[in-house]
């Protein structure tokens, strides 16, 4: 019998290394479950979960919803468009109104950093952070680390490069915390304009050259170029970014060892990664998606008991 050290999943920062291993071990069994002819188990049949998405999402929302349904939970879906938010309702009021309908858990994505933590202090429900602004995206980091563990057997001592828009990426921050707690080394790589100041203070290596990162790493996690931020002029053009930081088969083959390629999606084909690489045997992008359901089932299962 084992339990997480926390009542909510707000960020990887709050988890202990033991928590992460417990989630991985539980997810191993759920991965077996979702590959059965009948993929559903009744564990959470008396639990109701509300998915509150105040920001757009396809993959994470579908993945959480599927995980909840595979666990037999009752699911409520809420998205910001078409809701009373436009009438001026506050986050706490929205959450409390949903909880008044006897909801046990809330999965929330919100554009503001710290929104999940804010809510967890003010409402009586288990909160799972599905991405809060540029802060954290814990389940993505867990599924990334789980996918590396699955491909390479173990995380300890492995070298993982996270490449791209580090500054705006919640995936990057959660990845750093999660990989370090699982025993891996992390390098952040990207243009200087998209690298946070004092990134080294996280205990990671920093590089501004993709070739250098590829020479160093066992795994490269290629983050999405957030085109919506292009108007602020972080780099001159998409074409220039693709030339400097886009992963091509030529750059991949130039590295002295085989590198596992990951991407949290959605992919801008031809920008941060070429189709040739994304669809190659080096890539575990679709394994990440499959593992996402297993990881989210594990997190929900472990937190539903609290």
């Amino acid at each position: 019998m084992s339990q997480l050290s926390t009542d909510h999943l707000l960020g990887i920062k709050d988890l202990t290394p033991e928590d992460i291993q417990l989630i991985f071990k539980t997810a191993d069994q759920f991965k077996e479950v979702i590959n059965r002819p009948i993929k559903k188990v009744p564990s959470l049949r008396d639990i109701t979960i509300a998915n509150l998405f105040f920001e757009n999402s396809t993959r994470t929302k579908l993945s959480f919803e599927l995980a909840e349904k595979r666990l037999s939970a009752d699911v409520l879906n809420f998205s910001a468009s078409g809701s009373s938010l436009s009438k001026g309702e506050t986050l706490i009021d929205t959450a409390n109104n949903i909880l008044a309908m006897k909801v046990d858990m809330i999965v929330m994505r919100h554009p503001n950093p710290g929104a999940a933590e804010f809510l967890s202090r003010r409402v009586k429900a288990t909160i799972i952070n599905a991405g809060d602004g540029t802060h954290e995206h814990p389940t993505q980091a867990l599924l990334d680390a789980f996918s590396i563990r699955e491909r390479l057997g173990d995380l300890s001592g492995k070298k993982v490069a996270v490449v791209g828009d580090i500054l705006h990426s919640r995936v990057a921050l959660s990845n750093v915390f999660c990989l370090q707690k699982a025993g891996a080394e992390v390098m952040l790589c990207g243009p200087r304009t998209l690298m946070p100041l004092h990134a080294e203070s996280l205990g990671v290596k920093v590089s501004y050259r993709l070739e250098e990162a590829l020479e160093w790493c066992d795994v490269a996690n290629m983050l999405r170029v957030q085109k919506e931020r292009m108007d602020k002029g972080y780099f001159p053009s998409i074409r220039e970014y693709a030339m400097q930081y886009g992963l091509t088969m030529k750059k991949l083959k130039a590295a002295s060892r085989d590198i596992v390629i990951m991407h949290p999606g959605p992919i801008n084909r031809g920008v941060e990664i070429t189709s040739e690489v994304a669809d190659s045997d080096y890539s575990i992008i679709l394994n990440q998606v499959e593992n996402g359901v297993a990881i989210r089932m594990a997190v929900l299962y472990l937190l539903a008991n609290t």
Binding site: S2, Q3, S43
Partner: protein
Amino acid sequence: MRKKIILDEERMHIVLERLCFQLVEQHGDFTNSVLIGLQPRGAALAERLVKMLRSKGVSHLPLGLLDITFFRDDFRRRDAPLQPNQTKIDFLVEGKRVIFIDDVLYTGRSVRAALDAIHSFGRPADIELLTLIERRFSRKLPIYPNYCGHSVDSIDSERVLVEWKEVHGKDQISIIPHEST
């Protein structure tokens, strides 16, 4: 209270031999039958039975391990969630004769969960239950074994401990007070 031995190695072997013969009597060459060990503690018994049946000339013996953690009826009624074990069933049970194997039958709740869980792998033709030890008068559900090694009378504060040569160094079954586990 001290440990009380119910079956020593010699008697345990006699019981296991009898269970093997009963299985062969009912299932012949096992063409349409599969053994399912219930995790965690039914696995060792199932593996031992397979070994013994093989030595009796039964060559075709599909064995699966079924974990019932996600199908239990006491989720959220415990302090912490139970850690699941591995499920390993590499075949479909659709139309098969399934034999559940567990070491101790106590309240019957695990077997109830297993009846639910096995349907994820198809609809069996029938399901039987084999247990090495049956604790009498403690069932909370109407579940009884088709093949029973040995029945014991015990009270709730006691625990039946099954030890295996492969794991614990000796074959032995004993009753111990719950506190000492």
